[in-house]
Symmetry: C2
Subunit: 154 residues, 2 copies
DNA sequence: CGCACCTTTTACGTTTACGTCAATTCTATA
DNA sequence: TATAGAATTGACGTAAACGTAAAAGGTGCG
């Protein structure tokens, strides 16, 4: 079975559904396109986040899978766990208004935003403490290099 | 053997060295005083970060241990791994100027500071993206409650 | 004496998101 | 056809910092 021969992913017709411009890509290409590893894509599938088609045992990703992956990556970026992402995605219903999904997403987002802000506060705090300690250490070091001792140490 | 009977840790003489005002406390009190669990103290010891005396099998912490614990907690707060903390502590030599220790600490601190700043940048970024997504979702929701249809993830 | 409470050691469990083989199969190409 | 390059499933490994039993020993007190 022939697909998009690796390296020339443009202007071709597959023997898969020729109905629409259904671009099928295999896992390698998918991984490169989104900067993830094969392992990651399989892992996401294992966790129910992706559901690529199959040609025998070979995974075939469509642009729906790409859209989903984009969402996953966005979710990861903003700090959601994959579980959260899955929960939100699982609520998607192509035939409805997805109000529930959106509400859940918003709810989770608010909480996540709070977490992020708290984290930032912690980090700022840590930066402060660390800077403090550093200046103290520098002070101690300068005292050492300026005082009595004729040191030869490193 | 009698120590500081739990609950009254003041004005007492132990049958341990009565030479100096060596305050020995057991693990429970130590844990309470610093807001950590017993498990944590044992874990730190197991990792070579603490080295309390022993009365038989019972751990006895002195104020040196307290000082070390404070450092550990500070290290943790600013984001050092316990391994880092140990590395720095291991260089401590009560008979020298500890220049090497201070240099190492400063070096590690600089790197850690950089990491923290990078993290903060990532978090700021995440906050931005998340806020963005949230306003989009809000928009979609308001459209749903007012108009026919639209579509989200898939 | 006996209970309650503190302490001990040992050691497996937890969490998250994959990494890293390993053994095998499929496919494309020279 | 031989060989290199993808892909597959399976399954153990990793990192960090403890959590959580389990089983048992010490101790002051009423």
């Amino acid at each position: 079975m022939k697909l998009v021969s690796p390296g020339e992913a443009a202007a071709n017709t597959n023997d898969i559904p020729a109905e629409a411009g259904e671009e099928f890509v295999r896992i390698g290409e998918m991984a490169k396109k989104y900067g993830v590893t094969l392992r990651t894509l399989r892992f996401y599938e294992d966790k129910g986040l992706l559901n690529p088609h199959r040609d025998g045992s070979t995974r075939l990703y469509t642009r729906r899978d790409k859209a989903r992956l984009k969402l996953i990556l966005l979710g990861r970026k903003v700090g959601f766990s994959l579980r959260d992402v899955k929960q939100m995605m699982d609520l998607y219903d192509p035939t409805g208004t997805n109000t529930k999904q959106l509400r859940l997403a918003l709810d989770k987002s608010e909480k996540q935003l709070a977490r992020l802000q708290k984290q930032r506060a912690l980090i700022d705090d840590a930066i402060g403490e660390l800077s403090n300690s550093m200046s103290i250490v520098r002070q101690m070091l300068s005292e050492r290099t300026a005082a009595p001792q004729a040191s030869a140490a490193g």
